[in-house]
Each structure stands twice: as structure tokens, then as C-alpha cells.
Subunit: 359 residues, 2 copies
């Protein structure tokens, strides 16, 4: 582990994206999204993703200079053809557009097609916080997850994010995969040489497995709920919702046709749409009641949960977004610890591109 | 079991609600919502609920003649004070209002306070199907579910419903509790004298239990995800989202203050709001792309899942809403089988109210 300051990591990331052909402004934005994930402890969605993005850019699957085409069909709804953009950019642009709709009408919704991985959903979903807008963000993803009762990889880990601005940063931010466990957790288990808990994955025959190599060996991830008895049809339903909103509404690929995140895998042929899809939107808190009243009640809501009796008296109940917020406060002060493999890869990128390494 | 036709059950239910003080129109609507649940096999939310509703009406906790107060603050957002109405009525009225918003602006959203149990979420969420509007419905509920890491009952089984109209009834309807299992499933296990699966409930000390009497003995339900390892913080996050949107946005009670569904239990004192809350809304399919294109792709989406390889070759993969639809087609033709206890209770209500029993 090596600690790097937020400022240094932003600077490094921006330079890498500029070298890869992004405008200064877009490179700056990409850095902002990725480092936001790292400071909040969502390391799987931070700068560790850079090498993968670069390979997709080289393979021509991410377009560093996209021309966005908007199709706004109603006052509060429309689609964006992102022209192969990285989702880090397209999802934020769409959120800006829905914020404009929200200014005028109280809510706004954009479905995005022909996009790529959008990083951490909560970045985009919190962009309207200064205006007290609640954010909503979803994306479909490379197929890794089975439907309830199925053994084929049909859905991505398809996250849902809902972000509600509180007073003085007392927010509620839910940002969750709709699978029982994210792929990143299997990778950690692989590296540690340990098995995985029951309920995360099945093998290629559809049998539950505790092998961390499940995916490598042709298996798949299970939806949230994990088994018939404990409600895997619900996790499947949620992942399906995300896929339909992100893919079917927008005109992107969906389900098993979603393009893989890795450059060495090709997409399934005859896709019914283009690229990955996202669904983005927001509501104005003040559209429901005076936002001060809502935020006061949100504070009461949060306190009632945090103060409720925990199972383990040493581990208080936590509310969605609070663990990430604590880490954010710590890492913004003390710097961001990076995995040594991530550092090695970033150093290689630096030397290849004549960027001064901060490590 | 006794079979009754849909028409007879509608007629009976309408008469009971009229006798309880509802207008003919409202009684007709309540019958429509409850029988919709019964024909779709969601028996826990059908006419079996009538005795409970009647007790709440007698106790003055459901107002059969409410005066609705709307507070529309933006073009697409607002709240409804339902004046103690039954949710069967208030949620549908709110959906009608959001459909009007959707006609003009492409989407619409109402948070409802001072309401009661709204029956089956999918009834309200599908009200815009004729116009090709996608529906959204949530409600908070009597506290039975613990937060992740907690042992107090803080949330209801807080359902989420998302309903997407397909061509020729080829819809997608997800209507799910955010707990691992609904309370009704525990009741079925109690009646059968069998235990319950791991992952549904904990006892009063927060220890996982397989006793069907868990709730009776001071225990609680677990959120979807069931354990730390398999993502119960996600189910908790979803239930929290529902509670904040239904309760905190609207000004109803929320969390542990939600009023119990049974008349013999009082609400927790000092509630921060009034009654139960719901959150209702819709989006116009045509607001994103030509709705014919979307519905064509939704058909491809559904077929790809239904035709994907199942774990058990005899049980094909099913898509949310399809099992209920099959049952609906069957029961609309062949009639609705009712549990003998439900029939006995309905017969008692008939004789008390001088209604001719159809049984």
C-alpha cells in the first residue's frame, strides 16, 4: 500500500486521459469521477479501472471525442446517443440535462445508449445536491448474473443508485449492485486464495459453488436474494428493471448482448442496440414539501436508525452512504491508499506516456 | 377451498365497502383493487384483508369519506394529504393525477401522507398502461423488518413496484417486498406447523431462527439479502429508500412510527408525521423513443430470458409478472379459489350486514 493525496491522484488521472485523446475538460471530469470512487473506498470503480479503459480506447470501443445526439421528446424525458463515449462523461452530461428539466418541471429523465462503463453511480446521482435535487442512476453491464432459475449469464451486476441530499451533508446515498456480490469481491477472494460464501455464485451446471474461480470456470453470479427460498427472484427482478430502463428504453444493447468491459472479449453478435445503456434522473426535494422540512425529517429518520439497537453492541447500525462518507472524510485529509498492483500499472502508463510518476 | 367467480367476488366486496360507509364509486374501486390481487394469486392482498380493513374503519383509523388535499408544487411533483383514506383509493387517485402530469410533461410524481394500506402495488402502477405509461408505486408499512446489523423492527416489508406496458399484454411487472420473505409466508408456515428457511427472520436477541413463530415471540423479519455476507445491507437500503420516499417526502409517519395494520395495536407515540405514506408516479414510454420500438425490444428482452437455459430443464425461466399473469388468465375463466377461513369470515360479515352470501 502506498498513500497518495487526492490532488496528486486527480492530476495524474487527468494527464492520462488527456494523453489518451480526451479534451482537458473531459479528462478533468473523468479524473473527478474516478477519484471520487477512490476517496469513498469504492476502489473497484476508481483509478484501478484506468488500464481497462485505455485498452477499450485503443480497441476503438471507447470514443474519446464523441458527438452527443439528444432526442428530447417530452418536457421531462428523452434519450442521449452517446456516440461511444465513456460513461463517466455521458452519464454526468445526462444528469446535467435532467437538472435543467428539474429546474423547470420538478423532475427530469434521460435514457442513454451507445455508451460505456459509467464508473460509480453515486457520482452522477449526487450532481444535483447543491440544488437539493434527489438523484437516480442505473446502468446495465457485461452479463455475469443468472436469472432466477437460470444458468446462463444474462444480466450485469446492474447497479441502482438513489441519492437524497440532507442538511449539512447528512445525505442518504444508496448505491448497490443487484447481484448478491459484486465481481470485485470474487477477485479479492481469488487473490486471497480463500473460498467464497454460499449464495454468491453457481458453477457452469447451475450448482451452488464456494469456489472463488467460479466465473473463470464458466459459472455465474447469483442475483441478490441468492436462492429460491430467500428471494433471488427479487434480485433478478431489480436487475431486469435496470436492464430494461438502461437498455430497452434507450436503444442500447441489453441482457446477454451487453458489451463486455474487457477489450479481449467481443460482444455477442446481432445485438438489438448499441453499446451500454444508462438511465439517469432527478427530482426536486422542494417539489414535494419545503425542502427544509424534508431535510429535518430525513435527519430524524437517520438518527432513529443509527440509534436503534444493534445485534452486536460494538457495531452500531449504519445507514446507506455513511460508511463511504466516513472514509471520504479520512482519505481527503490523509490521502488514498492504493494497492501495489494498481501503482505498478499506473507507473507503466506514466513511463509509456512520458508522464511524471507521483509514486 | 371454494371457487367463486370474479364477478361474484367483486359484487360481494363492493357491497361490504358500501355498508362500511364508502360511496358506491369508492366501494366499487376497492373491490376492483382487492379482486385484482386475488385473480393474480396475491391472496395475501386480496379479499382476505377485508376484516382487517373493517376493524380499522370501526376504530376510526380508516376514514371512509376522506377529503383529499393536493399540494402540487411543480409541474410534475406534489403531495396528497389523504385525510385518513384507505390506500386502495388514495394511491389510485394519486396515480390518476400523475397520469395527467405525464400527459403534459412526460412524467409525474406524487407523495401521499395520512393514508392507509394500499393493497397490491401493481394495481396502481398499471393504471397508465392504456396510455403506454410505465408505473411506479411504493409504500411504507407497519415495522416488522430490522436494519442490517440491527435487532429492532424499524421498517415495513416496504414494497417496490415497477410496471412496464408491453405489446399485447406482454408486460413487465415487478412487485416485490424488500424483505427476504413477506409476513404472509410466515403465516402460511405457522398454519402448516413447519419451520421456516434460514434467512427469513431473527429472534428477539437478533439470532437467526427457523421458527415460524419468530414474529409472535418478539423477533423480526430480515431484509432481502438475509445476511451480512449475502448483501442484507442492500435489502435494508431498498426498504429505506421506500420509507424515505413514502414517508419523509410526503409528511407521513416513517420507520418505527408507521401505524400498525391491525386495529388492536396502537401506533408508537410522537410520530413525526401522519398515517402511512406512499410514493406514486409514471413515465411515458413515448417520452424516450417511439413506444412501438420500445415494446418490440421489450418483447425481444422477455423472449431472450424465457428461452435462456434453466437450471432444471422442466422449469423454464420466468420473467417478473408472468406467473401472476398466467394465474390471472386461469382465474378469470375458472374462478378464484378462496381459503375456507376467508370464506367463513366473509360469511360472518355478510350475515352481520344483511348481505346475501354468494357461498
Amino acid at each position: 500500500m502506498n498513500i497518495i493525496s487526492k490532488g496528486e491522484l486527480l492530476n495524474l488521472t487527468q494527464q492520462i486521459f488527456e494523453q489518451a485523446g480526451f479534451t482537458e475538460k473531459d479528462a478533468n471530469h473523468c479524473a473527478d469521477v474516478l477519484v471520487f470512487a477512490d476517496v469513498r473506498g469504492i476502489d473497484s470503480h476508481g483509478v484501478a479501472r484506468i488500464p481497462g479503459y485505455l485498452r477499450l480506447i485503443e480497441a476503438g470501443r471507447i470514443n474519446p471525442n464523441p458527438k452527443f445526439k439528444w432526442n428530447i421528446r417530452k418536457s421531462t424525458t428523452g434519450t442521449l446517443d452517446a456516440d461511444g463515449a465513456i460513461g463517466l462523461i455521458s452519464a454526468s452530461k445526462a444528469m446535467e440535462r435532467t437538472i435543467d428539466m428539474c429546474d423547470q418541471f420538478g423532475s427530469g429523465w434521460i435514457a442513454i445508449k451507445n455508451s460505456n462503463h459509467f464508473g460509480v453511480a453515486s457520482y452522477h446521482a449526487t450532481l444535483g445536491f447543491a440544488k437539493k435535487y434527489m438523484g437516480f442512476a442505473m446502468t446495465n453491464a457485461s452479463p455475469l448474473v443468472v436469472p432466477a432459475g437460470g444458468k446462463q449469464r444474462m444480466l450485469g451486476t446492474n447497479p441502482i443508485c438513489i441519492a437524497i441530499p440532507g442538511k449539512d451533508g447528512n445525505d442518504f446515498i444508496l448505491d448497490m449492485a443487484t447481484s448478491a456480490a459484486a465481481n470485485g469481491k470474487l477477485e479479492i477472494a481469488q487473490r486471497s486464495g480463500l473460498g467464497i460464501p454460499k449464495g454468491w455464485a453457481i458453477d457452469k451446471d447451475g450448482i451452488e459453488t464456494q469456489s472463488a474461480d467460479a466465473l473463470k470456470n464458466g459459472g455465474a453470479l447469483l442475483p441478490l436474494g441468492s436462492s429460491d427460498e430467500t428471494g433471488m427472484h427479487k434480485g433478478f427482478g431489480l436487475g431486469s428493471w435496470v436492464d430494461i430502463f438502461s437498455g430497452v428504453l434507450s436503444g442500447s444493447a441489453f441482457g446477454p448482448w451487453c458489451p463486455p468491459f474487457v477489450a479481449f472479449l467481443e460482444s455477442k453478435p446481432n445485438a438489438p442496440g448499441k453499446g451500454l445503456g444508462h438511465f439517469i434522473g432527478c427530482w426536486d426535494l422542494d417539489g414535494f414539501q419545503n425542502s427544509d422540512v424534508i431535510q429535518e425529517n430525513l435527519k430524524i429518520w437517520k438518527e432513529s436508525f443509527i440509534q436503534s439497537e444493534p445485534v452486536n453492541s460494538k457495531i452500531p447500525v449504519m445507514v446507506p452512504g455513511d460508511p463511504e462518507k466516513k472514509l471520504q472524510q479520512k482519505r481527503e485529509k490523509e490521502g488514498i491508499p492504493l494497492n501495489s498492483n494498481v501503482i505498478k500499472t499506473l507507473e507503466k502508463i506514466c513511463s509509456k506516456n512520458h508522464i511524471k510518476s507521483p509514486f
